[in-house]
Amino acid sequence: MNRLQTELPGLSMKNPVMPASGCFGFGQEFAKLYDLNKLGAICVKAVTLDERAGNPTPRVAETPGGMLNAIGLQNPGLSHVLENELPWLEKYDIPVVVNIAGYEPTDYTEVAREISRAKNVSAIELNISCPNVKEGGIAFGTHAATAADLTEKVKAVSNVPVYVKLSPNVTDIVPIAKAVESAGADGLSMINTLLGMRIDLKTGKPVLANKTGGLSGAAIKPVAIRMIYEVSQQVDIPIIGMGGIFEVDDILEFMMAGASAVAVGTANFIDPFACPNLIEGLEKRMDELGIDKLSSITGRSSLLCRQTL
C-alpha cells in the first residue's frame, strides 16, 4: 500500500504534492535538478490563447515572510504550449494540470477546449484569481455569479476535470466556492495570492513596476488554512491547497484543514529541491504523528471540532 496515494478527479497521484502554477514554468528547469517523476503531479504556468508579454520589471519584491509577484501571466500562448511544452512533458509519468487564463470567457473556453484534448493533460486549473492583470483574471473570481458562469462554460468544452482556482481577495469565499461547485467544477484550488504592495523609500515609488502584486509565501499560510477550512465544510468537491507551504508539517496542516492535495509555490524559489524534499519527509512525520494513510486526515480538523460540540 502506498500511504501517500492521492486520488482526485482526473489525478491519480502517488503523493499529494505538486508544484503550484507559475512557480515551476513548464517543468524543464526543475527537471535539470531532479526527476519530475517524484512529484505527485505537475501544474504548469498559466496559458492564454495568445502569447503574453507580461508586466514590466521589477516583477518581484521581498516582503516579511513572503514575496510579491506581478509577472502578469507572461506565457508563450496556447499553440506554442501545445506544440512545445506539453509534448516535452510526455516523457514523465505524472498527471499534468494546466492553469488557464484569459481576458474574456471565449478566451478561456478556446484554451480549455484545446488544452483538454492534449494527449497528456489530466486536468485544467481555471485561473479566475490572478491579481496582476487588468482585464480577466481576478475580475472573474470575486463575484459568485461571474465565476459560476465561466466555470459552466469551461466545463462544457473540457474533456478533463476542471479545478477552479479561487481568489482570497474576497469578503466571503464560501458563496463563490459553492457557486462554482454548482456550476460543475470538479475541484477547487486555493488560494491564489493576496493583493499587496511595497514602496521603495529611496524612490518613493512602488517597488513593482505594476505597483501592486500578489503576496505569496509563508506569510499567507494562516489565511489559506482558514479559507480551506471554511470552504471544505460547505462543498463536496476536493480542494488542492496552497499558500505558504514550506515544511512537511504545512502539508499536514493543509490536509487537516480540508485539502485533499497540495501545491507548493514560493518554496521552490527558496529551496529548489523543496518538492522532493517535502515528499521524502512525509512518511517519517506521519509515523511520528501516528497517521497511517495520508488521505485519511483530510478535513480531520473540522471533524474533530464537530465531535466535541
Binding site: G65, N69, F269, D271
Partner: protein
C-alpha cells in the same frame, strides 16, 4: 547546479560597505565559468524570505574555494556580513550563463569595464583571460577614492585605470571617459555594473562586447519569469521576444537586449 551548505573560511571588509567572503565546499568545483552567479540562502527560515543572487568573484578549484564580494545594501547582505568563519550558508549554483571566452586567443587584448559591485565577476574573468594569454586592460569606476577595491588584484592581470566621480583618484568622471581616453585598441570588451553604466559602455565601447545584467529574481533558474528583459530586435531570433536574465544571462552579447 547544486544546493550545498558551504563553510565560511574568511570574511573581510574591503571598502566601506564592501565585504569579501570565502566559502568552501564540493559544489565549487563546478563553478568554472566567470560571469555565472550563485543564489545564497542567507540563513535558515523565512527571514529574509528570498535568496540573494551574487556573482562568482573568484574560484580556486583545487582548494574548493569560492569568493563572493558584495555590498551591504539591505537586510540580507547585512546579515551575511555578520557571518563568521566556521558558519555555513546554503549556496545554490553555479547559475546562468557566464562570459564567453572561447573566441579569445593568446595575444588578444580584452577590455574589462566594471562599476561598483559589477566589478567582482570581472576578476574571475580576467584571471581566466590572462591564463589564455590575453592582454588585459581594466577600467574600474567608483564614486570616490575610498570606495576602491580589487585595484591591486586587477593590476596583477594587466593595466588598470581607475575612475572616480569626484576625481579623488584616477580619471575624474565615469568609466566611459576612460574608454574614450584609451590609447590602445582592444578586441573584445566585457562589462558589468549598474544599468546606466552598461548603457553608456555599450554606446561608447567598440567591437564585440558582452554585458552582464541585474534584475530582481525569484527562482534564479528560469522558471518564474521574474527577471526577464526584452530583446532589442525581437524579430531576429527564435520566436521568444524576451530573455531571462537568470538563465539566458546574466551575460548577453552587447546589443542583444534592451538595458
Amino acid at each position: 547546479m547544486k544546493d550545498e551548505y558551504l563553510k565560511i573560511k574568511e570574511q573581510k571588509q574591503l571598502a566601506p560597505n564592501i565585504f569579501q567572503v570565502k566559502l568552501q565546499g564540493k559544489s565549487i568545483r563546478e563553478m568554472t565559468a566567470p560571469g555565472q552567479f550563485v543564489h545564497v540562502k542567507i540563513q535558515p527560515g523565512i527571514d529574509p524570505s528570498l535568496r540573494r543572487p551574487l556573482s562568482i568573484a573568484d574560484v580556486e578549484a583545487e582548494k574548493e574555494e569560492l569568493t563572493l564580494i558584495y555590498r551591504t545594501e539591505g537586510r540580507g547582505t547585512k546579515l551575511l556580513a555578520g557571518k563568521v568563519p566556521g558558519e555555513e550558508i546554503k549556496v545554490f549554483g553555479p547559475l546562468g550563463k557566464g562570459f564567453p571566452t572561447d573566441a579569445v586567443k593568446s595575444g588578444d587584448t580584452c577590455l574589462l569595464v566594471g562599476g561598483g559591485v559589477g566589478i567582482p565577476p570581472l576578476y574571475y574573468l580576467g584571471r581566466q583571460l590572462a591564463e589564455k594569454g590575453a592582454e588585459i586592460i581594466t577600467i574600474l569606476g567608483f564614486r570616490k577614492a575610498e570606495d576602491i577595491f580589487l585595484e591591486e588584484e586587477f593590476q596583477q592581470l594587466g593595466k588598470v585605470i581607475i575612475t572616480t566621480e569626484d576625481g579623488s583618484k584616477g580619471v575624474k568622471g565615469y568609466v566611459t571617459d576612460a574608454i574614450n581616453q584609451l590609447a590602445s585598441s582592444y578586441d573584445t570588451y566585457y562589462t558589468c555594473g549598474p544599468n546606466p553604466m552598461l548603457r553608456a559602455v555599450e554606446e561608447t565601447a567598440k567591437g564585440p562586447g558582452f554585458v552582464s545584467m541585474e534584475e530582481r529574481m525569484g527562482c534564479g533558474i528560469g522558471a518564474c519569469l521574474a527577471c526577464v528583459c526584452q530583446l532589442k530586435d525581437p524579430g531576429s531570433t527564435s520566436g521568444r521576444k524576451y530573455r531571462k536574465i537568470c538563465s539566458d544571462g546574466p551575460v548577453f552579447p552587447a546589443g542583444e537586449v534592451l538595458i
